[in-house]
């Protein structure tokens, strides 16, 4: 029998497995024409670790935590900002006859 209160990590596991399937389905519809922007666009999405990075940078005033957090925010922001902007730049180049 399933327990009435699922532990959080099991909920997470459900979410993980199901979204891998969703992701694979959605992505398999993207034509080879756009595979480079697909790659850089999903790449930008992986910068969502920024959510963890801002907490890492801001949760305390200790030097160690601040330095690690600062570096994490820089890396995450480069990933997000650079990723979306370069994807946009590429997508704008695709024009019809």
């Amino acid at each position: 029998m399933p327990s009435d209160m699922l532990p959080l990590y099991l909920v997470g596991l459900y979410v993980l497995v199901l979204s891998i399937f969703v992701g694979y389905e959605v992505i398999s519809k993207v034509p080879p024409l756009l595979h480079t922007p697909l790659m850089s666009g999903t790449n930008a999405i992986s910068g969502i670790t920024l959510v963890g990075a801002v907490v890492a940078a801001g949760h305390s005033n200790e030097v160690f935590a601040s330095v690690i957090g600062f570096l994490a925010v820089v890396a995450g922001t480069i990933n997000v900002v650079g990723g979306y902007m370069v994807t946009d730049r590429m997508l704008r180049m695709f024009k019809k006859r």
Binding site: G41, N43, S46, H59, V81, M90, F94
Partner: protein, 464 residues
């Protein structure tokens, strides 16, 4: 704030990410899809900031400012030909961010470490670090800061296997017995950094599309693990989307090369030409003399042609010849010829690389054809112009069972009436294999820098 509001907003932004990717299915909607995804990102990070207990805003804004500045400059300056290494580098930053967040959480939640939390923190750290150094090596190879050929040494695979087992075994031990020991944590992180270097150095330049796709997927997996660390579903979802995208592209690239992902990762492909393979010009064919043709000869062929298919390869990117291709195509179109482009899935150094380059040169995307779309049309086409492509047009893939690329789907350029091959010299391609196409009777070799040859062709056509 109502306790579940944050999670409900995360649900909305997760859906926005999925729809954003879905909109990449057509070029017309793709730009808006990318905006949608970017807005989802902004909202997700924004609501996290306002709902977390932040005591140090300065560090956050400083980091955001530095990261934004670097991101803007890098994405504006990068040349389209250098896109593979740019994406490799962004992958690396994604992995690094995950690893640093793991480090920070290990510190922040030190007193509350459970075996579960320790294990997901370590997984996030290890996958993040492997992604980071692996991407840096891929970047260095693509940027030619280090040799692109596979770097192999004796016992390499055993060392990698042992390091992997040490990392996993050490992680399991630490989780079970010593979760609080910092030295364990740093040692595991360091081994993962070394592992990232070692797994990418044996892979050759021509296999980089697979590696970049795979590292893309790793960076997503690292994000998902971070999601488990932070108990945050939007990270788990976003991470799995990226992971799935990387897996899909890795698989697509491997199918396009008729090789397994294991063969790509451990094969050391392209280091040496296997003895005997490709030495003969296909079964029953003698090695004929390669005959060089002139611009005049080529122009004469164009004059009696009605249809042309351009076949770009990495050489086009290396010579920055995409604009010259477009120029020549314009002249041919003005002369009434039907011009199209055939794009092999693994042409170039990342999936879709050729499409981006030609789009940059203002080639309309409806003229860019996938292999399946166009492969049956070569036999009804007058001229195929091969610009810096080699292995993807090598007929040995069809008819030489001894060739290392035997079985790989290729573009059927040899079926066109005349094949023009623009090539710097007779050096074999990245797989190190001779190409019998160059010796066929219907092939015209035009030696020299691809860009210069294309420009001369366009000039000569103009003066007719």
């Amino acid at each position: 704030m109502y306790p579940y509001t944050l999670d409900l907003i995360y649900l909305v932004t997760s859906v926005m990410f999925i729809i954003g990717i879905k909109m990449l299915s057509t070029p017309a909607a793709a730009t808006r899809g990318n905006y949608l995804s970017a807005i989802a990102m902004l909202v997700t990070v924004g609501v996290t900031l306002v709902t977390s207990q932040i005591v140090d805003w300065v560090t956050i804004w400083a980091g955001v400012a530095v990261g934004t500045a670097i991101g803007i400059v890098a994405s504006r300056m990068v040349q389209m030909t250098a896109m593979p290494q740019m994406v490799a580098l962004y992958n690396g930053f994604g992995g690094l961010a995950s690893a640093l967040v793991a480090l920070s959480e290990y510190d922040r939640q030190h007193a509350a470490l459970t075996p579960y939390l320790t294990s997901v923190i370590l997984l996030s750290l290890i996958v993040g670090n492997v992604t980071f150094t692996g991407s840096v090596v891929a970047y260095a190879k693509l940027q030619e800061l280090m040799p692109g050929r596979p770097m192999l040494f004796r016992g390499q695979h055993w060392i990698n296997l042992i390091l992997l087992l040490v990392t996993l075994g050490g992680g399991a031990y630490m989780t079970a017995y010593d979760p609080l020991v910092w030295n364990w944590f740093f040692a595991l992180g360091a081994i993962a950094l070394v592992l990232g270097v070692l797994v990418v150095i044996p892979i050759g330049g021509a296999d980089m599309p697979v590696v970049i796709a795979l590292l893309n997927s790793y960076s997503g997996i690292a994000v998902s693990f971070t999601g488990f660390v932070l108990n945050n579903n939007v990270l788990i979802i976003a991470g799995s989307l990226v992971g799935a995208s990387g897996i899909f592209l890795t698989n697509a690239m491997c199918v396009a090369m008729n090789r397994s992902v294991w063969n790509v990762l451990f094969g050391g492909f392209g280091q040496t030409a296997p003895a005997g393979a490709g030495a003969a010009a296909g079964p029953g064919g003698d090695i004929g003399a390669v005959k060089a043709y002139t611009i005049e000869d080529a122009v004469n062929v164009f004059e009696s042609a009605q249809s042309v298919i351009f076949v770009p390869g990495y050489g086009m990117a290396a010579a920055q010849a995409q604009h010259a291709v477009r120029d020549l195509a314009d002249h041919l179109q003005q002369a009434g010829l039907n011009v199209r482009y055939a794009i092999h899935p693994v042409a170039g150094r990342m999936p879709g690389h050729m499409n981006v380059l030609l789009a940059e040169a203002n080639v309309p995307y409806d003229l860019l054809c996938d292999m399946e779309q166009i492969n049956d049309d070569f036999k009804n086409t007058d001229v195929a112009v091969v610009v810096g492509a080699n292995d993807v047009v090598n007929p040995a893939a069809n008819d030489d069972p001894g060739s290392p690329i035997y079985g790989m789907p290729i573009l059927n350029v040899e079926q066109t009436r005349t094949v023009m091959v623009l090539k710097r010299s007779m050096n074999p391609g990245f797989a190190g294999i001779e190409n019998a196409l160059f010796l066929r009777d219907n092939t015209m070799m035009l030696f020299g820098d691809a860009k210069a040859t294309l420009t001369k062709l366009a000039e000569a056509l103009k003066h007719r």
